[in-house]
């Protein structure tokens, strides 16, 4: 319908950029929406068990931050549910009837999260301490459930199942088979663990900065200890789940695997590239260490299994963004490995009954770990979304066929990008104001060296 190919490309690029920006922005808040309720619950539970007012102060402080982030997250989530129809109406006309089930279940759980968030956030003085603590459980549970369902929909885009195409029409729809496609288990657990880890390291990071500024009290120590307890358990699990997810990709998205692992030509007994940054003109070999046979072993459980190279796919069927996919993947795995090491280090250095390591280098590493963990989540989504291109539904439906025919995407993209900059600035400013307030209801004695 558009005679000028350049205009058509920029139309698609504008639409993709807009939904990509929206998802990256939303992810930050969604991750905290999943992770913070767990942190608040543990802290408040510790208060009920020990009676230590520091725990209650932490739970209250986090609940105030949660209130702001939840409002922004709910708003940015609404944007995405609209944008699916406004930007990719042809994709939704095609897929809505297949993956509607996880979307509506996600809606139902998000409903419960919002209802109990209202009760929890405004109920500190209206409910008994135990009832208040219990009202936090539905928040934590429904947050995980809604993340679970929405990610099954994404898993379907990667490994589509549960429908047939007959004469260009969707038939034989099986919503359960679509939802429980081969990627559901690995992708959802990778996301939920990722959310918990980013939140935990994020909290550790905030309080490590506080300690670096000289506020070495029980309030800061307890926050870091709680965060790193959760992180130390989950980080190794996340690495294992990541490996399983890699196998899912290997079995169902060969072109994506080739882009992720930087495999250009088909190799039998393929080695695993560690490093191998795809810089222009270097053919992916910059700082590369190749571990022989490891990729074949990891991906297909056999040291000599062939791994198909990216060049063997028709040009129209492979991602035009392969170097970025590879870079994002290296970044994610690198950060993840570093976080596992940091968690182990903290607990190995912690003596029973005393504080964890509080030297400057440890605190600086913790301070950096929070932003890094969030970055790893964002990079993981870049790997998924860019790695699947040019498909919106892998092997079945192209992104370019899903975009709207309505004009004006350049304008809406600009408007939403400005909106996100504004929202980010406002949110940061508000959270800083919350953090700058004195800790309420906490006597100085409670803050002494604990």
């Amino acid at each position: 319908m558009n005679a000028d190919p350049l205009a058509a490309i920029s139309h698609l690029t504008a639409g993709r950029s807009q939904i990509g920006t929206s998802l990256s922005f939303h992810l930050f808040f969604a991750v905290l929406g999943v992770g913070l309720p767990l942190m608040m619950l543990v802290a408040e539970g510790m208060h009920l068990r020990t009676g230590d007012p520091v725990w209650r102060a932490l739970a209250r402080r986090w609940s105030k931050v949660f209130a702001v982030l939840f409002a922004v997250g709910a708003a940015s989530g609404t944007i995405i549910s609209f944008e699916l129809g406004l930007l990719f109406p042809r994709f939704m006309a095609y897929a809505g009837g297949i993956i509607g089930l996880p979307f509506s279940l996600e809606g139902a759980w998000f409903f419960l999260e919002a209802i109990f968030a209202g009760i929890y956030l405004y109920g500190w003085n209206r409910l008994s301490p135990r009832a208040h603590w219990l009202s936090g459980f539905p928040i934590a549970i429904s947050a995980v459930a809604s993340a679970f369902f929405i990610v099954t929909a994404n898993a379907w885009m990667n490994v589509p199942r549960g429908f047939q195409i007959v004469h260009g029409r969707v038939t034989h729809v099986d919503p359960l088979a679509a939802m429980f496609n081969p990627a559901w288990a690995t992708e959802t657990s990778h996301m939920v663990f990722g959310a918990y880890l980013a939140t935990a390291f994020g909290i550790a990071s905030v309080y490590a900065v506080g300690m670096l500024r000289g506020r070495r009290d029980a309030y800061h120590r307890k926050a870091i200890a709680l965060a790193l307890s959760i992180a130390a358990i989950l980080a190794p699990l996340q690495l294992a789940v990541g490996d399983l997810l890699g196998r899912t990709v290997a079995n169902h998205q060969p072109a994506t695997l080739a882009a992720i692992e930087g495999v250009t030509r088909t190799e039998r007994g393929a080695g695993l590239n560690i490093g191998g940054f795809p810089l222009p003109g270097h053919n992916g070999d910059v700082l590369n260490v190749k571990v022989p046979h490891l990729l074949s072993l990891l991906a297909f459980d056999s040291p000599n299994a062939p791994v198909r190279g990216l060049n063997t796919f028709p040009k129209a069927d492979r991602t035009p963004l392969a170097p970025y996919v590879r870079l994002a993947f290296i970044g994610m795995v690198g950060i993840g490995t570093g976080l596992v090491a940091l968690g182990l280090w903290y607990w190995l250095r912690r003596r029973p009954g005393s504080n964890g390591p509080e030297g400057r280098p440890t605190l600086i590493a913790l301070a950096a770990a929070g932003p890094a963990a969030f970055l790893a989540n964002e990079l993981g989504w870049l790997v998924t979304e860019l790695g699947r291109q040019p498909w919106i539904v892998y092997g079945v439906f192209r992104t370019s066929s899903g975009i709207t025919t309505a004009p004006g995407l350049g304008v809406t993209f600009t408007a939403f990008t400005l909106l996100y900059f504004g929202l980010t600035a406002l949110t940061l400013w508000t959270v800083r104001r919350i953090a700058a307030r004195p800790i309420e209801g906490l006597p100085a004695a409670a803050l002494g060296a604990a």
Binding site: A93, G96, S104
Partner: protein
């Protein structure tokens, strides 16, 4: 009744819940805009909607998921034909949520609060106005009984009838909010504040009554297909709606706060119900109906099950939320 019709009714109920409960939250923003420098009014408004507005808002997300899961072709056409007004409404919803969330958080300075209040108010006025205009525009292009219209018609959301419905939506939101806040203030023993919101209720209620006569009148002149449906199958609902609007005014006049709130909720539900009857079974235009736009049977079955789960889980939880905060004490905002 077919499964598609059943899910269309579920969609209608979900949209109605959104219109009257989230409508009251939008109205709270409109009242906030007219509260001038009276901080007591703002506190009363914030205390009334604080715990519930996020949950009320989810009815919209739920409605959208029903629409795109059960009627994907209609969702697709709506998104394409209404990109501009829906994008602006979306921006308004986002800005008002964020402004309200940030304003309620501790440590905000007075100047920032004033700025956020203005943003909250203006955005709260724009969103229901645009939703009303979109509904009016959809009714105009979807109420005709003639066949052979184009598959995706142009939606005249800036037509005279659409604009009147937009204004009606905004006035109704303000009235709903006033009736919620007034009732809460009476129960908290805040007589002076209750009086002020009763007055707001009377003012916005008068606008609602006026516009609910103006709507059909404009339809008679500018949207004859809508007019024929209004005086045809939708007539009982129109009568109930206008009766409820009058009743709500009368009840507010006599300080029967609970009755006033009930009647304005009924007014809102009637407006939505009337809209559905005017254009049923058409979703957008006259060719995409509840049946022609429906997804496959298994998809509809899964939607019906999901809808059942929502009713079983969400409604009791929603009741709990409203019950906990119906207790008559003003929230201390820390």
């Amino acid at each position: 009744m077919s499964l598609a019709a059943l899910i269309a009714i579920l969609l209608g109920l979900s949209l109605t819940a959104y219109a009257i409960f989230a409508g009251a939250d939008f109205g709270a923003g409109i009242l906030d805009l007219f509260a001038g420098s009276r901080d007591a009014d703002r506190t009363a408004i914030a205390a009334t909607i604080g715990p519930v507005w996020e949950a009320n808002h989810v009815w919209l997300i739920f409605s959208i998921t029903i629409l795109f899961s059960a009627f994907p072709a209609a969702f697709s056409a709506l998104g394409t034909k209404l990109l501009a007004p829906l994008t602006v409404a979306l921006l308004a919803i986002v800005l008002r949520s964020v402004a309200l969330g940030l304003r309620a958080s501790p440590g905000t300075t007075a100047r920032a609060r004033a700025m956020l209040s203005k943003l909250f108010g203006v955005a709260s006025l724009i969103a229901p106005f645009l939703f009303g205009a979109v509904a009016g525009g959809l009714a105009t292009v979807s109420s005709s009984r003639h066949l052979g219209a184009p598959l995706g018609p142009h939606v005249h959301w800036t037509g005279a009838f659409a604009l009147v419905i937009g204004a009606l939506a905004a006035a109704l939101c303000a009235q709903l909010a006033a009736s919620f806040v007034a009732l809460r203030m009476v129960r908290s023993g805040e007589g002076r504040l209750a009086e002020r919101f009763r007055l707001r209720g009377l003012q916005s209620g008068a606008c609602v009554l006026l516009l609910s006569f103006a709507g059909p009148a404009v339809a008679a002149a500018a949207a004859p297909a809508v007019w024929h449906r209004l005086i045809g199958p939708a007539l009982p609902i129109v009568i109930v709606g206008i009766g409820a609007a009058a009743m709500s005014l009368l009840a507010a006049r006599r300080r029967r706060y609970l009755l006033a709130r009930g009647a304005s909720l009924l007014t809102g539900a009637s407006v939505l119900g009337g809209w559905f009857v005017i254009q049923a079974p058409h979703l957008i235009g006259t060719r995409l109906t509840v049946h022609t736009a429906a997804a496959t049977h298994p998809a509809l079955v899964s939607m019906a099950i999901a809808g059942g789960i929502v009713l079983l889980l969400v409604l009791p939880a929603m009741y709990l939320l409203f019950a906990i905060f119906a207790r008559p004490e003003l929230e201390v905002i820390e």
